[in-house]
């Protein structure tokens, strides 16, 4: 197991290096630079001044020099400062990460809480109204885009109940109640999307497992239905579900971009999008690397979870 983890971590290094090259290259290929964005609508800056500003921002160095410098900063866990705001990137991340983390965690909890019971219900009551309703919910979750659902939720909350989450982020430690109010709806929107795929996967795997011999044996022993489904069937049906949930994390992180914008939450999504628009290279590069590292780690965690769910699985 230990060897397996070490091997996986070592394999992550080339993945991360490749990601760093791609993101660095793509940012340089994009036309325009931070300086142009920085100058707003002026158009009245002379070439001499532009050159000076470029030098100040380190944009005059050759690409390989810029890349090596950034890599070195990343290895030292000091990604530098934002070109645009001069704020240390670590400070920006310190503000943004908790927001996205909280949103993603809540969405995940809500998503799984909705998905697994409905998936099980759908499977155990196959072809009934409850099953069809569950499947409609799942298909809706898959097909309704986040931005549309979020817009509907916020608009109709305002019209029907004259309430929307309070705008202007406050941290969980500052005011837990206000913070919860701010996160509940966006997490529900994200969670709904996440729950859809999970719900469908739960339904199909539970259906499959319910037809296994050992489940039939359990019924034959006269065990209560709940015991058969939750104790015997569900745990064995969960491995593909965990895989799906792990795979959905990337989608979840992508979804935060839209949901954070609509619900005005200052998370990683908004930070990254703004940095891309302003060509704030160090911020984009650092954020992308952070997301890449998170996904690599989460995939490893998901793989390790299999062993916990099914003790027969061994890692070599």
């Amino acid at each position: 197991m230990q060897k397996y983890v070490i091997r996986r971590l070592l394999l992550a290094v080339p993945v991360l290096l490749l990601s760093s090259l791609i993101v660095f290259g793509l940012m340089r290929v994009m036309p325009g630079d931070a300086l142009i964005a920085l100058m707003g609508e002026s158009g009245n800056v002379g070439q001499k001044e532009l050159a000076k500003l470029r030098k100040d921002l380190g944009l005059d160095k050759p690409y390989h020099g810029q890349y090596m410098l950034w890599l070195w900063q990343m290895v030292n866990l000091n990604p530098g400062d934002s070109i645009f705001t001069n704020e240390p990137i670590s400070v920006s991340l310190k503000k943004a990460i908790p927001v996205t983390l909280e949103l993603a965690a809540l969405a995940m909890i809500l998503g799984i809480t909705i998905a697994v019971p409905i998936g099980v219900l759908s499977a155990t009551r196959q072809d009934t109204t409850a099953d069809y309703a569950g499947r409609v919910v799942a298909v809706s979750g898959l097909s309704i885009p986040d931005f549309w659902l979020a817009t509907l939720v916020i608009t109709f909350s305002a019209i029907w109940v004259h309430w929307i989450p309070p705008i202007g982020y406050v941290s969980l430690w500052e005011s837990p109640w206000r913070n919860l109010q701010q996160f509940l709806l966006p997490a529900a929107v994200l969670g709904f999307r996440l729950s859809a795929a999970t719900m469908r996967m739960t339904r199909s795997t539970v259906l499959e497992v319910l037809r296994e011999d050992y489940v039939r044996t359990a019924w034959a022993k006269g065990l209560a239905g709940r015991m058969v489904v939750y104790k015997h069937a569900l745990k064995n049906a969960l491995i593909p579900v965990v895989t799906i949930v792990g795979g959905q994390l990337g989608v979840l992180l992508a979804g935060t971009v839209v949901v954070e914008t609509i619900f005005a939450l200052p998370g990683m999504g908004r930070l990254t999008v703004e940095a891309i628009l302003y060509r704030d290279y160090p911020v984009v590069q650092t954020n992308v690397m952070l997301v890449a590292a998170t996904l690599v780690t989460l995939n490893l965690v998901v793989d390790l979870t299999y062993a916990w769910l099914d003790p027969r699985i061994r890692y070599r």
Partner: protein
Amino acid sequence: MPATDPRKPSRRDVSRRTFLKRASWTGAGMTALVVGAGRGRASGQATAAASYPEWIPASTKPPKRGGVLTRASAWDPPLIDPRLTQSVGLYQFAGLTSNRLVRYALSDEAGGPSDLTLKGDLAESWQSDSANRVWTFKLRQGVKWQNVAPLKGRELTAADVKYCYEAYAKEGVQTFTFQEIEGMETPDKYTLRVHLKSPNTLFPQNVAEPIAIVFAREVLEEDGDLKKRLIGTGPYIMKEHSRKVRVVLQRNPDYFDKGRPYIDEYVILSTPDDSTRKAAFRTGQADFIWVASPSEVEVLRKTNPNAVVQAYHNTLAPFGVALAQDKPPYNDVRVRRAISMAIDRQKQVDTVFEGHGIPGWGVPYLYYQDKAPTLKELGPWVQYRPEEARKLLAEAGHGKGFETTLFYYEYFPQMSSQVQLVQQDLKKNLNIDMKITKLDYTTYYGRYVEGKWDGMSWGFQSGHAVGLDERTYHYMYSRSTKNFFRVNDTVIDDLTTKLRRTADRNEQRAITKKIVDREFDQVLRMWMPYDNGFLVFQPHVQNAAARALRRSDGYGSPTLARAWLDK
């Protein structure tokens, strides 16, 4: 558990077909309901738009002190250094933390939305020498910087203004304006004498621009830039600036205009999404909001029937089709005229802006006539005459049309519709194939401002400017670095130079009219229709109306120093 538990009988099974049938009927019913609910909305829009007042006069009640004014804002300041940005994200509040030497009348002292009177802000009075090259500003005495370290409430002097203007001239986005200054002297603490390189009767207008705020020298000296702290002499102190969250302004108790401001705090909440901003207004989280179309006002008034609406009327359009007019085929005036006549501007106003828009012009009409020009008054080349356009293009040797490109950035959703309408018009009427490229802001901006592109761009002129000098000489003089439309016309050069040397108001109006006529005659800048929009206030907000040149939610924010809450 019918399917899997063999011991239990099957419950009410629903076949797939039955389920789909029921679902279809439900869906059809819902659709009918929604369609029915939406009917009858459009018919009332035009009349409703016309019924909203253009101007909300100052309240006659005595102002009340206190309260918190909140606004959900689309804009986030990219940075708070006034040397480095002209972004409305900054100036939606920088005009409240800081002052300028002179300013335009605020909403409670203006006679109407088109009142262009200049008032003293930090300056008490100002005058020029007979040649209009030396301007002397007498500052108010006893104006204090905000009581925040390192200023700690020290008195503002003429040397502060001199330092600030020198810094603007040295680097950043305001160099063009301030490099016009040859030198400055401060004969005493309260007198600033500005020597210009060439005569300019309109110089006070330039320093009244919303971006020409006076910042604190100590902050620049200590920090090396102004990206972290914004300290001024204004009615509000910046208490908090959390990027992408909020800006909180707190009443400055030492403000020189005694008794003002009335409101204790002004909170600007960063809210990038339009539907969220509207929801915030509906639920009372925001005290005022800008909306573009009459239908949006009507929808808002369904949930907020007591909302007070000001129908805004733009005095200029900031966007238009910019042509590479220094290159063929656009260096031929016949081609420019033909293209202009092939575009149906009225259709854009009627459809894209629901009738509440202007056909488009670049110099504020208030500088040369009292009423907004109609489409007809803008001259023959902006009239929609496809037949004549075809003939003219054929005369120019392009009877079969040609291929061209247009790049743009979608500043607001309606812009894409406008671009597509222009594309259709040009194809249908002139057989011009226009390939559209939609870009992100930085790419668009870099390419557009660099000014080396071919074909067309959906161009702009800076949104912040209100002054006549900025709107004429700065934007149209051939060698100006702000001449984004690439105007190169000797008549315009002469007229814009003459304008800034003319002191008489009536003569100024006459020259401005000549500039506008020349611009339209030669199709030097092909302005496109623009929305008028509406400002919608909660009923308790008083004295926050927008004036003709500036909206109180944006560059016109200084007017909020006179606003109060009737709660």
